[in-house]
Symmetry: C2
């Protein structure tokens, strides 16, 4: 087990009806608040109006900025920074999912910074201050509601970049599973794929003696695997929605990576798909993750066997470790397919095989993950992702 | 799943050698610090001197208060409050285990309070402020390093009382598993029993649809069960000590009770043993917990079956739920015995059968736990604890 620091200070407010507390919580983080949002769903459902009313009732001035799209854009962050400075905004309230929160994190860190916010994403600078952030979560997926990370796309260059800073971890996150009843099936499934990937990327470590976090990862994965089909079959199944929503936060608040060094190759390899083809991040992961596994499983066979046995209940068989490991990967792929995710690049609409170019982008900071994947590895993973 | 708020803001600093960071961390919480400790082990090992030197090097003034005993005493808390006021102390650094931290929490909340600190323990008042607390943990057991609770004994009256307040959750906790290498076997085992009890008291809920926290509880229990025999066999097994130490914090920082209503009957019933006979809390729990289980298991049979199957790998058998549940309880008892814990009242030296009196004390705030145990139940549990 590696030495670690762990601090997850986000206050979680979880359950039925809890978004009615947004006004009181928001008043704790500022007097003038940017309410940041994206999808039409928050408007048509009436949620946005309800949130704004609650915040105003608490005596807080509201500045609005909508328009966040999946794979959030740098341009909107720059616009948000200017808006916050002009209006004297002192906190940001997100109403939405990971894209809105990631966009807010860029704005929050950018407001007190004298340079260009893009510096954080290229690692040219680190935030040394940030506006406080609150969240009303509508999509369990990115885990951004309790994470230090922000991922954005620079549109023109088709580049996806991220930064991590504890300064942008939200102060509070309001998680009402009822708000996810109206999520389209595809978004529910893509969100769950993102959640599972966050766990699996922590799980596939080369570190030994990480029993507790291994088992916590397996516990969270099994919970999601059990509950997603229920939520898809009955969108208003509160219990299933609640398990998924809480699992999504736990998956990415860093508890599951304490003492471990994870392997984020799949996220990096997928980010090139999202950036270049604008595919849904979770759907891209459903294609890339099993392909990554097929490429690397022999390099850490015992862990892939443990994954198969403990997460997917594959029967352990003597003298067939590879067979056991492959059966685990097969069951993961089958699960993604069963919940309506694509499992090949073609199903994502990616057929022009620009693998060399994407591999080059994915490797711009050096070899990927614990297996130190190089360009031929990444190209091979894209090829395996053809199915 | 119940609605819940969850906030665990303690910064965890975990690993080999990390107690060297105590000076820098302590300087964040005050200029004049009470260093609070108990056992001789921290003095003879040189740890206390090392900590004091680090804190002074960071420019912090130190006031010393030792003398904390297991089952911490109210009188010392009152002394600490006076001392802190007199010396202008603005933070408390604990060097020790749960008893030291619980004592510090009483002091921390008592300093700014105008009444008697005992009011918090009798629920006559709630803290509305507290000095910040830091911890260098030497015993994984109570989980007090990230919990809001403080338990103390009022000596004359042989009463054990507690209060909970988020205001006394430590700001930081330094967890170096190496510091537990010198723990006596009995204290290691008693600490683990306390850890397991914290998890099981959360686990035995009547709440349904708590898949994720069920599985997180099982994960943490299995980790402890696997690693304790290793730590007992090889006291300097860093990996085993590390798993136990991190599990001890997770067991009691409230993550595992999110959305559930646990059942703290065993803790309450054991507290009367600790208060009246001054037995080690963990050892008392090893005797009481299985007795409580034997008394109540038929009232929530399916959960006790799940515990047997998922935690103890008992084979599920059709048409024998009771047999499966009892086998789980048997394996738990056998485990306690194997790690050197007593499993009967006689082994604790408790033979005078003052059960009516203890039951009355245990029930002073009303019936206990989810099964609303009354005096005859509690007496029966003490009888079952005779073995």
């Amino acid at each position: 087990m590696q030495n670690f620091d762990f601090l997850s200070p986000t206050k979680i407010i979880f359950g039925r009806g809890v978004h009615s507390r947004v006004g009181a919580e928001t008043a704790q983080i500022g007097n003038t608040i940017l309410v940041h949002y994206g999808s039409d769903r928050v408007k048509t459902s009436g949620l946005l109006d309800e949130v704004i009313a609650s915040v105003r009732d608490a005596g807080v001035d509201v500045v609005l900025l909508g328009g966040v799209k999946p794979n959030p854009r740098l341009e909107l962050i720059r616009e948000g920074i200017e808006l916050c400075r002009r209006k004297g905004v002192d906190g940001i309230l997100c109403v939405g999912g990971g894209s809105v929160i990631d966009s807010a994190k860029g704005i929050a860190a950018g407001v007190p910074y004298t340079g260009d916010v893009w510096d954080f994403y290229t690692a040219a600078a680190e935030p040394d201050g940030a506006l406080p952030i609150g969240v009303v979560l509508t999509i369990p997926a990115a885990g951004s509601e309790a994470s230090p990370g922000s991922v954005v796309t620079r549109e023109k260059e088709q580049q996806k970049f991220f930064f991590n800073s504890d300064l942008v971890r939200p102060r509070f996150a309001i998680l009402n599973p009822e708000l996810t009843f109206t999520l389209p099936q595809y978004q529910t499934a893509a969100g769950v794929t993102d959640i599972m990937s966050h766990i699996m990327e922590r799980y596939f470590t080369l570190e030994e003696n990480v029993d507790l976090t291994d088992r916590l990862c397996e516990a969270t994965l099994r919970t999601v695997i059990h509950n997603v089909p229920k939520a898809l079959a009955t969108p208003e199944d509160y219990a299933a929605r609640a398990e998924i929503m809480w699992a999504g936060t736990i998956a990415h608040n860093d508890l599951l990576s304490t003492g471990r060094i994870g392997d984020w190759s799949s996220h990096n390899i997928e980010h090139e798909l999202s950036a270049q083809y604008d595919v849904t991040h979770g759907a891209g992961l459903a294609v890339i993750f099993p392909a990554w596994m097929k490429h690397v499983y022999t390099r850490d066979l015992e862990r892939f066997v443990q994954f198969a046995v403990r997460v997917w209940d594959v029967d352990y068989r003597a003298h067939d470790m590879e067979g056991v490991a492959l059966e685990g990967i097969r069951r993961l792929t089958e699960f993604f397919s069963r919940i309506g995710m694509p499992t090949t690049l073609a199903e994502l609409g990616v057929t022009d095989r620009r693998y060399d170019e994407m591999a080059k982008q994915a490797l711009r900071f050096g070899p990927l993950g614990n297996f130190k994947l190089e360009a031929p590895d990444v190209v091979r993973i894209y090829e395996l992702a053809e199915g």
